[in-house]
């Protein structure tokens, strides 16, 4: 069952007299219980997309259906009912936790806002959630600055999950954490997803992390999805030259002292190249690529790519 369905989403920002097309026509589905990974480099629009999907950020156009209802067109007054079912986990939990509120208050707030339970019931749910994310109960009386980065991310996760949402957008949730803590948080997210039957939209620049956590993966480049597919197919049979370059750029012990990195810089979303937006850095670009923007097309069941030369 499709839980979230986004069609032709655009996020454009006015910038220096021009239009910065951060998200430039993206469609995606997330099924119930599925983890969709969204990878790409900085400026590709992945975070703008994640926020727009939750209506936390700007959206220029595009349809957003949640559980069959038109979330994208819902009036402000009706958003609260949706918000309970859609939550977000941020990269920097410290920046998103009010330093003047105790952890207990931070976790109580969503319950109070949504009028869930009586006092006793709310307290019970806060304690229960602390247990589940692996924090001691006395954490409720302490403040965010008293915790390490990994524990703060546990607080961020607890806050996102206390309303028992159906979909959680995770924006770089482990990127700021030390390696020895990353695995703890990844495992926690996977366990909570299983226990609560969550759907996750997992945004990350780290291919290795996405490879582990995602059932299906979308690769973004300059505001567009250039390839999408089931996780195993995407890593083993990437079709888009950009996906291949991303995979090759992941440092690999098997390739000692050898790299053939993609040339050039990321172009600006203020000035998107004509034709295929990847052509200037692409090792196999032809005249066709310089003039015609390739649409996403199917190359195998569930596997799509936006490259004129894929599969040839």
């Amino acid at each position: 069952m499709t839980l979230l369905s986004v069609t032709d989403l655009h996020v454009h920002y006015p910038s220096q007299g021009a239009s910065l097309r951060a998200v430039d026509g993206v469609s995606l589905d997330v099924a119930a219980g599925e983890t969709v990974g969204l990878v790409g480099e900085s400026g590709c629009g992945k975070s703008s997309l994640g926020r727009a999907v939750l209506r936390l950020g700007d959206r220029t156009s595009g349809r957003i259906l949640f559980a069959g209802e038109d979330f994208g067109a819902a009036p402000e007054g009706r958003l609260r009912a949706f918000r309970r079912r859609l939550q977000m986990i941020f990269q920097d939990p410290y920046g998103s936790l009010n330093p003047r509120h105790s952890v207990g208050d931070i976790l109580l707030a969503p319950l109070t806002v949504h009028g869930i339970g009586k006092r006793e019931e709310r307290r019970r749910r806060v304690h229960d959630m602390l247990d589940r994310v692996g924090l001691p109960r006395d954490a409720a009386h302490r403040f965010p600055h008293e915790f390490s980065g990994g524990q703060r991310q546990r607080i961020g996760i607890a806050r996102a999950l206390i309303l028992e949402p159906e979909l959680v957008v995770c924006d770089e949730p482990v990127s700021a954490l030390d390696l020895s803590i990353q695995a703890q948080i990844i495992n926690l997210l996977a366990a909570m997803k299983r226990e609560m039957n969550l759907s996750l939209l997992f945004i990350s620049h780290d291919l290795s992390v996405v490879r582990y956590v995602a059932d299906r993966v979308l690769v973004m480049y300059l505001g567009r999805v250039v390839e999408s597919g089931p996780h195993d197919r995407l890593w083993d049979h990437p079709q888009h030259p950009y996906t291949r370059a991303l995979i090759d750029a992941v440092p690999d012990p098997a390739r000692r002292r050898h790299a053939s990195p993609l040339p050039g810089d990321l172009p600006s979303a203020r000035n998107i190249p004509a034709g295929c937006r990847f052509h200037a850095r692409c090792p196999i670009a032809t005249d066709l690529c310089r003039s015609v923007d390739p649409p996403l097309r199917s190359v195998a069941p569930g596997h799509q790519t936006a490259c004129h030369h894929a599969g040839h």
């Binding site: 589940r132 030390d178 020895s180 012990p253 993609l262 990321l266």
Partner: protein
Amino acid sequence: MDPLLSVRDLSIGFRNGAGGHWWPVRGFDLTVEAGETVALVGESGSGKSLTALALMGLLPRSARVEAAGIRFAGQELTGLPERAKRRLRGRDLAMIFQEPMTSLNPVLTIGRQIAEVLRLHQGLSAKAARAQAIELLDLVRIPEPQRRVDDHPHRLSGGMRQRAMIAMAVACRPKLLIADEPTTALDVTIQAQVLELLDRLRRELSLALLLITHDLGVVAQWADRVVVLYAGRKVEEADAGPLFSDPLHPYTRGLLAASPRMNAGRHYRDGPLDEIPGSIASAAGQAGCPFVPRCPAAVAACAEAMPPLLVPAARRAVACPVAVGLPLPGSPLNSPSAASPEFHP
């Protein structure tokens, strides 16, 4: 032949407010041979960046740096007058940072900044320095160097700024380049470009590279030798191949097992990643080995004294008797059920 750099028994301390000092780096030894790449690996709080800053003389005056000896390029640095140390540091020893704007001045053109280094250390004329700055920009593959030389840093992309900083660092042909998390802030495709560039410079300018990073993938791909730090202590050292195929220290083993990158192909549906419980914060005030609170192999003796570095094979060292099969007295400290229960919901 002497190694290029040899550091013996380095400790770095800061006043702790109670009249004493706390020592974020303790008893650290390091050697770097000419032309090799040595990686210093550790998470935040391991002391890896402090060590680099101490070598560069960039720590604040309040820091206490103690060492039995620091020999660089045949010269003993400890006890050398500040002027002589400074001259050596600008010329033979250079450093680049994670954030290029740490070392680039935003109000000067990049050409001016590179030329300044050359005029100061090599006494070049303004004209000759500018010509050489253009050559250096070309060496680090900045396109159109004749035009870029007059750009201010903000006109360059993040990757290009990193290159400009590298050009400035290698301007005087240093013998050792210290790179502190040089690619952490960069996107993966740009990361690969910068690492490839650093390795090319290592070969073409025959410099040695001290690569400070938390990224095990980068280490495995680019380093000859690896030093693993934990809470200010060296816990393991080995050539890159053996370290990754046969890690010895429980911390190194734990890190490799926990890394999605080192376990490519694993998927959450097949089971959880291995975890190191707790956090590095638990090392504070820990007697003996700092890894004790998180270590699956710790026994009572581990908490009494820091184990010495043992040499189980040529070019290998590990600060853990248990890892090399030496029995230690005392019962296990962290049996699986007792290890930090709050982290295993």
